[in-house]
């Protein structure tokens, strides 16, 4: 009697990937449940006591059940900061002293989340980064997502991704720090609102499992018009995946090769190599 083998129908389940937006909602929702239960963490207790705050939850207007919650500013003791203005669903924050970590929910359209210090301006859409005012300099480090860092007047812009740090000082030129395996950040591409909408629309369709052909077309359009854009990594990856799932292996390989070449250390590279063995040759 032969042993039953693994059924090939389970391959589709094994390859299934949890959308980034779902992961973000789960994490944010778990944190919200924890905060509702008990002020166990110092910054929650400080808020309840309306006293010295180690962190503040920036409340946004009431939103539908599936919208992400507000942004977070996790400021260390001694940090001095204030919200300067609201920018749609984002805001502009001025950090004048100390260290703060920012957790920014995904934004759309012309919204932005900006942190200004005396030496630098940090502009992000949906990410997690740390800004430290250290004497006359500002140090920025990114743990998730992509941020654009420049001088307050917009000069010397650079794009930082997860794992990157940059120190901006008034006298010495900034020394961007990048992981050895990645190319040093060059002059950052300009912010491109139209392309951003295409990528976000496509990600929404992908997350909902709807209109894969339209999602693919949006990603390809972004790559055609903004090949060096801030969302090139997402666009290349999903263009490769959607082409593969549509049976267009030639395009999947082309997009996959471009992705692996530009982002060799991405966790998505392993996924692409597993499904496109030609990439490893």
């Amino acid at each position: 009697m032969t042993e039953p083998e693994r059924h090939p129908a389970l391959d589709a389940l094994a390859q299934a990937e949890v959308p980034d937006a779902v992961q973000a909602r789960i994490v944010a929702g778990a944190q919200a449940r924890v905060e509702r239960r008990a002020p166990r963490w110092p910054w929650v207790a400080a808020l309840a006591a309306a006293g010295v705050a180690a962190g503040v939850w920036i409340a946004q207007a009431p939103a539908p059940a599936h919208d992400p919650p507000g942004h977070q500013v996790l400021a260390e003791a001694g940090a001095q900061w204030r919200v300067v203005e609201r920018l749609g669903r984002g805001q502009r924050v001025a950090l004048t002293a100390g260290v703060a970590e920012f957790v920014v929910q995904p934004l759309t359209g012309g919204d932005a989340f900006i942190v200004d210090t005396a030496q630098a301006r940090v502009r992000v859409v949906g990410t997690r980064f740390r800004v430290a005012v250290q004497g006359e300099c500002t140090a920025i480090s990114v743990s998730e997502g992509v941020v654009q860092v420049s001088r307050p007047d917009g000069a010397e812009p650079s794009q930082l991704t997860a794992g990157d740090t940059r120190r901006v000082c008034p006298v010495a030129p900034p020394q961007p720090t990048a992981p050895p395996s990645e190319a040093p950040p060059s002059v950052a591409p300009p912010v491109d609102p139209p392309g951003q909408v295409w990528v976000q629309t496509a990600l929404g369709l992908i997350g909902a499992g709807q209109e894969p052909a339209k999602a693919r077309a949006l990603m390809e359009r972004y790559l055609a018009e903004h090949p060096q854009g801030v969302f090139a990594q997402e666009a290349l990856y999903y263009a490769a995946r959607l082409a593969l799932e549509a049976g267009d292996r030639a395009t999947a390989l082309a997009r996959g090769r471009a992705f692996v070449q530009r982002f060799p250390d991405s966790h998505r590279t392993a996924w692409l190599r597993a499904r496109l063995p030609e990439l490893s040759r």
Partner: protein
């Protein structure tokens, strides 16, 4: 995934950053566990949130860093079982039928069908099949997650694969 002892101690101390890292590390895995066990996508998100929040409240009940993943899996199992009982009640007494919707990025129809077939299997067989043939755990890893002996996992896997094959064939016979 085994946490370093110092990280586990930080969890027990309620360190916010340590918990944030744990939430990010386990969120997709818990979501997958729930979805593969038949929980609809939207409910699986809420279920995963509750599992993580429960872990935060009861971390003192986790014996050791190496037991963390299995402990989280057991919490997820209980949450899934509660959810399925409530779903059964809604289906039988209220007539509410869950929709078969994609739960993952660009999920093909085959994946949705495979999940529907998995949902028909007995829970003990479905769990082993998911851990071994979908999530890719070894026999010993699956045994640790389920709290079973490796030999029991092996025998259940044989039965589970046969049951899945039979259910899949029967599904094809049902037509579109």
């Amino acid at each position: 995934m085994v946490l370093p002892p110092e990280h586990f101690q930080r969890l027990q101390a309620g360190d916010e950053q340590a918990w944030a890292r744990l939430f990010r590390a386990y969120a997709p895995r818990i979501y997958r566990w729930a979805v593969h066990r038949g929980v609809a996508a939207g409910n699986a998100e809420a279920l995963a949130q509750e599992v993580l929040a429960t872990a935060w409240r009861r971390i003192d009940r986790c014996r050791a860093p190496e037991a963390l993943t299995a402990w989280l899996y057991q919490i997820t199992r209980r949450q899934v079982a509660n959810h399925r009982r409530k779903a059964w009640f809604r289906r039988v007494f209220v007539g509410e039928a869950p929709a078969a919707t994609p739960a993952f990025t660009a999920e093909p129809e085959a994946a949705i069908s495979a999940r529907a077939v998995l949902a028909r299997l007995p829970a003990d067989l479905a769990e082993v099949l998911i851990l071994r043939d979908v999530e890719g755990h070894t026999r010993d890893e699956a045994a640790a997650l389920l709290g079973l002996r490796p030999g029991t996992v092996a025998s259940r896997l044989r039965r589970a694969r046969a049951a899945f094959e039979a259910a899949w064939t029967a599904r094809e016979g049902e037509g579109p």
